[in-house]
Symmetry: C2
Subunit: 289 residues, 2 copies
């Protein structure tokens, strides 16, 4: 069985690492804030002092940290994974970061005869806890096949999206879809309310047909009931939308609807609502009226 190194024990990483231990994998973990590693030790894992030390003791090293610079830091920075890697090992980055940064890192690792997979996830902390994540993988099919048992311990669906970076690109498409569809729900709910229509009745009447979406069925009623607890936090969504817009900039691609949602979320952040769920987009839509 492959020995696993795990770097990043945040809200997603910790339950994912615990699921790997539960599935019987040997696991050594590193986290910048050290006390987060205690839960891993209690579950039978080991503690690494640096990403380098984690890499030295592993065949497959998983990273799941906040943003592109954090991934560069733990893989390529001082005491980074790259300095401990054995030839033939694999690095799987499960963070959501820039597709082009991903390709750069993959190239540098290839020079060391190490394969990389980008494998961002959707499904939130609930999916991480229940091992029901959707995993979008970029990299070689062979490497994916080798890592499949690891993915299957953390998620319920694993899609091979293409070469390095394509997992990240698929994740960014996912974020375009959730954000602009959320906008659709917000404008429909507000139009209903301003018209004197019971917006919950509207959601029920429309969600089964061509207007239907996960966002409508799940976030529509929360908007109506003014339940803005996260789900997925606006501050985190904004990081992902910035990644989309940076990638679109590199491609010289205008995305006006997505950009507009990004601006409305800035209105949420400016109003102290950045820690609320993405359905609080409704508040910004409402502020315009």
């Amino acid at each position: 069985m492959e020995k696993i190194g795990f770097v990043g024990l945040g809200i997603m990483g910790k339950p994912m690492a615990l699921n790997l231990l539960k599935a019987g994998f040997d696991l050594i973990a590193y986290n910048r804030t050290e006390d987060k590693v205690d839960a891993i030790i209690n579950a039978g894992g080991k503690k690494g002092k640096t990403p380098k030390e984690v890499a030295e003791q592993s065949d497959i090293i998983i990273t799941i940290v906040s943003d592109s610079p954090d991934v560069e830091e733990v893989i390529l920075g001082e005491n980074g994974i790259v300095f401990g890697l054995k030839e033939g090992s694999v690095v799987i980055d499960m963070s959501t970061i820039s597709p082009s940064v991903t390709r750069n890192i993959a190239e540098k690792l290839r020079d060391k005869k190490v394969e990389m997979l980008d494998a961002p996830v959707s499904g939130g902390d609930v999916g991480a806890i229940n091992a029901t994540l959707s995993i979008m993988v970029g990299g070689s099919q062979n490497t994916l096949n080798r890592c499949r048992p690891i993915f299957e311990a953390m998620g319920k669906s694993v899609t091979h999206c293409g070469t390095n970076g394509m997992g990240q690109t698929t994740k960014l498409c996912n974020q375009i879809l959730v954000s602009v569809t959320n906008m659709a729900v917000g404008e429909a709910v507000l139009f209903a309310q301003k018209s004197g229509l019971n917006a919950l009745t509207m959601v029920e009447a429309t969600k089964g047909g061509a207007a239907g979406s996960w966002q409508l069925a799940n976030l529509g009623p929360k908007m109506v009931n003014e339940d803005f607890a996260p789900g997925f936090m606006i501050d985190l969504q904004q990081k992902d939308l910035r990644l989309v817009l940076d990638a679109a900039e590199e491609l010289h691609l205008p995305l006006p609807a997505l950009s507009y949602v990004h601006q409305l979320y800035k209105s949420n952040q400016a109003n102290g609502e950045g820690k609320e769920g993405t359905q609080a987009l409704f508040k910004s839509i409402k502020r315009l009226s």
Copy 2:
């Protein structure tokens, strides 16, 4: 059994009238273009020379025509339904028109002791043919109960949305949802393609989760395969979006995302694509890049 009058045998009205005949209702029909009534006569129905004559011979009169002025014309205009109505009969308007025009007509009919229901539908011509329409009803619950067997002969779901006009308002919410969600799909598909990602893989990887929608599952692959045959035609969608924007204007309500989709559809129309399906929105999104 109630005797039914039917005004408007277009792409939706004709199959709906035929389903009423199939369910055993007596039916007399009027259409501006007379030869469209032949199909009704062949199926055992009768022909009325004017909307007034249809109303004289019916208990329940259904209208399904193009737009607000057409409904005003067939109900209130020369030889209109209002001049043939018996006290206690019901007018059901199944067109998609302005909620405020609907309320005005309902008020005028109420003066004649005639109840009105607004009952626009979604589900397209396929839903009309197969009697699987979703019907969104505004008006009194009692009148809806009286008309329920008629609705059930034409649709599979009947929702009471509130007082007169609320059926229309619900339909307009439906059109906000389908249009802005369509926009989400178009930007995601284009971002995928410009990034070198197989967009069909992207649709498959995302449609089961929080990004999922009817529009993504059904129109996403059509965009990728450049299949722009209607489904629902842009020219018809534009009429409905104009109704949304007119109603929003009356409410002093900004709907920037919906307005933007309306403008992009204008680009489709300016490029001779008005008879294509709404998924051709993708062409306008692409034209920007």
